[in-house]
Amino acid sequence: MPSLFQQIQAGRIWDFHGGIHPPSRKTQTSQKPIDSYSLPARLYIPQRQHIGVAGRVLVKVGDHVLKGQALTAADNAMAVPVHAPTSGTIVDICLHPSAHPSALPEPVFVLEPDGLEQWRPRHALDMLHADKAQILQRIQQAGIAGMGGAGFPSHIKAGAAAAVDYLIINAVECEPYITADDVLMQHHSDTIVQGIEILSQLLQPKAVLIGIEDDKPAAIKAMQQAVAGKNHWFVRALPVKYPSGGEKQLIQRLTNKEVPSGRRPIDIGIVVQNVGTAFAIAQAVLEDIPLISRVVTVVGQSLSRPQNMYALLGTPVHELLSACGFEPQPSQRLIMGGPMMGFTLPDARIPVVKTTNCIIAPTHEELPVAGPELDCIRCGACTEACPVNLLPQQLLWYSKAKDHTQLQAHNLQDCIECGACAYVCPSEIPLVHYYRVAKADIRETQREALKAEQAKARFEARKERLEREKQERAERNKQLAAQRQQQLADQQKQQIAEAQARTQAATTELTHAEIVAERERKKAEARAYQAAKLAAEQDIIQSAEPTLSADDRAEQDPRKAAIAAALARAKAKKAQASGEAESTSVEAATVAAAPALGNTVEPQSSSSDDAKKAAVAAAIARAKAKKAQASGEAESTSVEAATVAAAPALGNTVEPHSSSSDDAKKAAVAAAIARAKAKKAQASGEAESTSVEAATVTAAPALGNTVEPQSSSSDDAKKAAVAAAIARAKAKKAQASGEAESTSVEAATVAAAPALGNTVEPQSCSSDDAKKAAVAAAIARAKAKKAQSASNSEAATDPTQADSEPPLADSDAVLPPVPQDEPQVVAQPEPVAANPSAEDAKKAAIAAAIARAKAKKAAQNPQEPS
C-alpha cells in the first residue's frame, strides 16, 4: 500500500460523494481572447470587498488620486486596502448598492477617471532578498483577497505559521458558464506560475497541486508547459463534476483528506489558493500592481458578444454588459457569479468587486425560472447529489418545522450551499434558500435563548430566594425576640459575645469544608507532599495546614511548588470528576491542596516577583479543574469545596505584603479572570447552586485582600481594582444567567464591596490614582447592585439589621479565612469621608462612602449565621 504522498505523486485523484453534472456552457467564452473596454464614466469602489474589516479611509472627497493609490489603509490583520483602479478624482464617498445578495447599500468611493491612467510610483520587490514578512506585507498592501468567491485576505492564508504539506491551486472553475480562470491560465500561465512560486516560498509545501477540470484542455496544456521541470508541482486534470471547485471538495479530490467540521484546511496542513489570486500575487510582488482589475466572464444569451473582460474593480455592471451587446428581455435576470451559487442583481449599477468572476445575463429558455415549489416526496435525489453527504430532504423537513435541534443533529452547519440538491430536486424546492433561512434562524434563536434563559434563571432564583428569606426572617425574628428577653440583664456584654458567636457561625460554612479536610488530612498531606517534592521544597508544604499562620518561613522558589501543586490538583480533579470516585475525596483533596498553595506563596512572596506567575498558574489550573468538574459527574459538593478552598488561597497569594510588589495587579487580574471563568463553567454545569454561592462568598474577600490597605501606595492599585471590578461584574453576570441562587450574588456583593472599599481607605488619599480606583469600584458596585436588586427587592426592607448592629454586618461582610480588623472601618463610613487631604481623595472617599453605604444595605440581609 503506497503512502498517501506516493499516491498523490503517482497522479491519483479521488472522488467526493455526490455532485452533479449541469451543462457547462463554457464554450461561449472560453475560446475568445480577454477583451478590454473603454474607461467607465465613474467607478464605484466599495470600501470593503473581502471577508474581514474595512480599512481606514485615507482620501476625502475632492482628492485627486493616481492609479494604484491606496484609498484605505490596512491597519488591521483582517483588513486589506482598496486602490484607485485608475487616476482621477474622488467625487463622492457615499452609499451604493452592494455586490451582495441583499444589495444593501454600503460605503463606496466614487471615482471619476481623468483618463490619464497615471500610475503612482511602483517598486518591484526583489524576491532574492525579500523576507517573508516583506512579501506578506506587500500582498496585504496590494489588497489581495481570495478571488475564487469567498474573498478571504490572502496574506493570512499565505502567512500560515503551521507546517504546510500541500499548496493547492484551485483552477477548477466548476460552475457552468464561468471561464475567467480558464482564459487567465491560457494567456497568463507564466505569471500564474510566478505567483505560485511566491506562495511556495512563503509556505514551503511538500507539493504543489494545481487542480483543473478536464473540460479546459487549453488551460491544462498551458499550465503543464509552464510548470514543466518543477519538482513536486503537479497539474491534475479532474473529471468534470460540480462542485469540485469547493475548497473542501477539491482537497478531497486531490489529497483524499477531509477538513474536519468547523476547522480550516491549514489545520490539516493544506493551503488552497485560487489561480486568480496567484496571478494577482505575482503582479503585486513582481510589478507592484495592486489588485485593481480582474478578469470577468460576461456571458448569457441576452448578450450578442459574450466574452471575458479585464474589468476595473468598481466598474458598474451595466458598463460591462453594454460593452458585450446587452439586449435585456422582459423580467431579465442578471446573475453575479455562477448559475449555481451566484446571486441575482436587482440593479445593474452594482460594481465589480474583487470576488466577481462572472456576470450572466441569461434568457428564459437558457436558464428557466424555477417552477412552483411542490411537496418533497423524499425521493432522495438530493442525498445522492450532496457533496458533503448531508440528507437535504431531512434538513428541509426540519427547516420547515424550525426544529433546530434536529437541524444541528443533521449537521446543517456543514452545508456549503452549493445548490446541487436544489438543482436535482424534482419538486423544484429552493432547498438552499431554506437552509440559509434556517441557519440565520438558528443564530437568532441561540441569541434569544441565551437571553430568555438568563431572564428565567433570574426570575426563578428570585422566587426561591424570596421564599426562603421570608422563612429565615421569621425564624430570626423569633430567635432575636427570645434572646432579647433572656438577656435583658447584661445587654452590653451579651451583645459582644453574640457578635463573636455569630462571626464564628459564619465561618462554619467554610470550616465545614476544612473539617472534612481534616478528616482526610493524611491524603491531602500526601498530595501536598508530592507537590513539594516537585518543587524540592519540603518544609513549607509541611506547614501547609490551613492555619494560615503568618510566621511561615521564607522559601526560595515557591513558584514551582505552586505550579506543581496546581497541576497536580487540576489533574486530580479532572480524573476524579470524570471517574466515579466519591465526591468526598475530591472535596478533601481540594480543600487541603488549595490552602497549601496559599501558604506556599504566603507573606514571604511579597519580595518574590514570582508570586504573579504562581497566581496565574494556580488560577488557570483551578479554572480548568472547575470546568472539568462542572461538566463531569462529580457531585456538586466537591465543586463547592474546591471553590471554597481555592479562592482564599489565591487571596493569600498576594497577601498584605504584596503591596510592594508590582505584580499584584497582574495576579489579581489573572485571579479575577480565572474566577470568572470558573463561575461561568459552574453555572452552566450541573453543580448545585450552593457551590457557586460558596465560591463567591470566599472569592471576593480574597480579592479584597489582594489590594489591601498597603496597596494604597502602589500605583497599580487602580488597575487592580478595575480588573477586580470587571471580573466581579462578569462573575455576577455568569452567575445570574446560570442556575445559581441569587443569594450568591448577594453574598458576592456583600463581601466584595467592603473589600474593595479597603482599597481606597484613608491612606489612599495621598495617591492620585485612588480616585479612579474608587470610581471604578463604585461603578462595579453599582452594577452588582443592579444585578442584585433586580432579584432582590426585599433585601433593603429588613429592619432588624440596621446600623444598630454593626458587628453583625462585619461578620457577614468579611467572611473569614482572613479575619482581620479592617472591616470595622467599613462599618464606620464617617471617618473616611472626614479625612480629605487632597482634592481627589475627597471624591474617592465620597464614592467609597456611597459604595459602602450600599454594601451595608446589602449586608443587612445577611447569610446564615445570624
Binding site: W397, Y398, K400, A401, D403, Q406, E633
Partner: protein
Amino acid sequence: MSEFLLLLVSAILVNNFVLVKFLGLCPFMGTSKKLDTALGMGLATTFVMTLASLCSYVAEQWVLIPLDLQYLRTLTFILVIAVVVQFTEMVVHKTSPALYRVLGIFLPLITTNCAVLGVALLNINANHGLIESVAYGFGGALGFSLVLVLFAAMRERLATADVPKAFQGASIGLITAGLMSLAFMGFAGLVRG
C-alpha cells in the same frame, strides 16, 4: 426452549400489549413525544414488568392460593407492583446513578401502567408457570418498548407534518397508532397454538 421463543414472539409481535391487547396505552401516548424519553420508559418498564410478573406469580402461588385468598388478588398485586417499583427505584438509585438519571422519572409512572398489572393478571388467567410468567412479562414489556420506540420516532416526524388542525396532537397520534396496529395484524397467525 423453542416454546419460550414462541411465547416471546407471541408477546412481542402477535399479541402486542399495546396494539392488540390495549395495555399500557397511557404511557404509550404520554411518553412517546421524544425518542429519548421513549427509550428510557421502555427500559424502565421492561425491568419492572419482568420483575413484577415474577413477584406476582410468587404472591399468587405461595400466598394467595395456599391461604385461599384469591379474591384479594387485585389488591395484592397492585401493592406488590408498588413495592417492586419502589424497590427498583432504590436499587437503581444506589447502584447506578447514571441509570437512575435515565429511568428515575419514569419509575413512579410505572405503578399506574396497566400493562404491569395486566401482565400479572394475564399470567394467572393463562395458567403460566414461573418461567413462563417471567418470559411472558419480559416479552410483553419488550413488545411495549418496541412499539413505544417506533411510535416515538414516528411522532417526531409527525410533529413536523402538515396535519389538519382538528387532527393535530392526540388525534393523529391515535390514528397513527391505529395504522401501526393495522400493520401488526400481519403478524397474526405467526405463532400457532
